[in-house]
Symmetry: C4
Subunit: 212 residues, 4 copies
């Protein structure tokens, strides 16, 4: 499996899934031509959909970055990796549906649980894929084992966090939505392999710090 | 025809078609704000749609891999190949509609037959394209004839399998769905040209076996 | 403007537009769970949609090939080309809507005329872009003027053909649909610049003829 | 972050968002099979949707060109740039919804204001990203500071223009639509960095002017 085509296909699916999110924001049909006040009201009533849209845009954006950061360190893509990656993409493409459900019923347990279940599913696939990559020695030889170990811990922590938020969704749905937002905000900051290593094209400040 | 652009266009269509599958999972409109039990029930009632989604995700994923595995061995892309490939993509893009129909009416003969018809159509186009590639000597010179022959047999077997499942769909729709699932699970394992050859970037175990 | 990114963006839009065509095939909502006969009937009643889908898939596929064949001969992409290309893509992306309308009302003049109008619009943009490329000497130096002239004639003929079919649509809608099908079938065969030149990777028979 | 994959992902989202615009043009469902006059009337009644489609196609096309023109001059893509770019893409993907709303209610203040708000949001993200790129010295060393300054001014002017049109939308919605159209038409002409520099592959006339 050619790594470039593998990445291009994954990038394509991430880009399409992130764009399809917008379909979860739609005005309800009006029976008659709405007045200005009715249209304003209908647009404002879409705020949970807009919130869910923003949240999932961040989530898929993070997943794309993680995918990128991970495979930059990988030397070999075997059949099993392609298979697990397909599972990961299958969970990712499910996010627009979970987002649409969350946006429509943001205070209801089934919607918040489904959302957590989907993200936990993504995290599960990421952990499974990482475990396989470690097991099959697929990392480039220049990647230090400590960095790999750090990434394994970070991925596992991510899984636990999502799973915990999913459980909370069954009890306190609104709290779980806040947790999803906090987790997304937190993960927009780089961690593990990403920070330690292999960012030769970073901003001037970082280069300065390194040189210092 | 530039092979890189040919592959990029095909990859784009595969990636987009696989993402559009999610549109086949949608909550029915509620006449009034649903209770928690009603929403849970409505989500659980979507299991056939989720099953069809997973199945088709695997099917398109396999087709993408096969496309990739095939064209890695091809040296020349002529007009006829582009034409047959367009037919193949046309059948592939039809899969989201067949999936949506299958997900909504998973126990009904018209739905299961349409699904089988679509997959058989894809297999037909793959066989036609392979036949043309063999006939026009489009394979790279380093590919041994035995591998090509093996691929021809594997593709023909795939066609027969899908066609058989399609016929079963007319008699026992639920059995045919099981067959589709079994075939998809089976094809996720590599075969023919893919296994014998040209995977220079496989996992460590395989390299070891080869060296042994 | 980097030619590679220009082509990649165009390819992406072609690939997405061709995939979006499938949304023009959709089962109508049933008021109650349909019987097997009703579902079969509803599926068979979608034949005009399937026909329109196949037609437009061929049309966009041809346009993508033409785009590819044209820009392979182009050395420079200036701002005006990007602008005209955007207009061309805007017409192309309109095809899914025209297809959906044609599929739903295949015997009605407004639908067949809209379809012809859309294709004539695409052909207009192609001719405008080609005229600009000729005027601004954007062709590679190795392309013989006779080939360019031949392409200009072929594009103009294409425009006249589509415009004629569009006019027919106002009088005999069913005849115009037949014309659209015939034109698409005809254009799947290469012409002009495409045949004469620059296909270094064609099948063995052609190479043989050339060598002979 | 690899610049090529960063650009490819952005291009994918731009191309996909521009294609999704077509979903904002849809025939309303008919209760019975429409007569020819009714279908014609329904199609003609879609002119605001078609206008909004054309407008947004131009807007996203311009944004894609700006993105391209900007990152051609950038040597480094750091995490913050990826983050701000994600925000920009998130605003861009919102355009299809704003377009759909504008097309359906083109004379109503909430619709025209939402459209202006979305474009102003895009311009805000562009300005924030540019400010970060300037601050972190991410430009290639060959780009003269005067060109960068000119781009900063051009981006700021763009923001002011969109924000002004957005404010007008609250008072005179139809005027604001005219403004959106005028702004889009104006921006299709290159400015700032784009014109001054780094277009080695422009048309023959320009090269001649430069040589003269």
């Amino acid at each position: 499996m050619n790594k470039a085509r593998f990445e291009a296909f994954s990038d394509g699916v991430f880009a399409f899934a992130i764009t399809l999110l917008i379909l979860s924001i739609a005005l309800p049909p009006f029976r008659h031509a709405p007045t200005q006040a009715e249209l304003t009201h209908a647009l404002l009533a879409l705020w949970p959909n807009a919130l869910a849209y923003g949240l999932s845009f961040a989530v898929i954006g993070i997943m794309w970055q993680n995918h990128h950061a991970l495979f930059r360190l990988i030397a070999r893509v075997d059949r099993m990796t392609v298979f697990l990656n397909l599972g990961l993409l299958g969970m990712t493409v499910f996010i627009p549906f979970a987002t649409s459900t969350l946006g429509s019923y943001i205070t209801m347990k089934p919607a918040t649980f489904l959302y957590g279940l989907t993200l936990t599913g993504c995290a599960t696939m990421y952990n499974a894929m990482l475990a396989h990559l470690v097991r099959s020695h697929a990392f480039s030889s220049h990647v230090p084992p400590a960095s790999i170990q750090q990434t394994v811990v970070a991925y596992r922590t991510g899984w636990i966090t999502y799973a915990a938020a999913m459980v909370v969704a069954l009890l306190l749905p609104v709290v779980s939505v806040c947790l999803y937002l906090i987790i997304a905000a937190y993960y927009l900051v780089p961690r593990g392999v990403d920070t330690d290593l292999a960012l030769p094209a970073e901003g001037a400040e970082t280069s300065h710090l390194r040189a210092g």
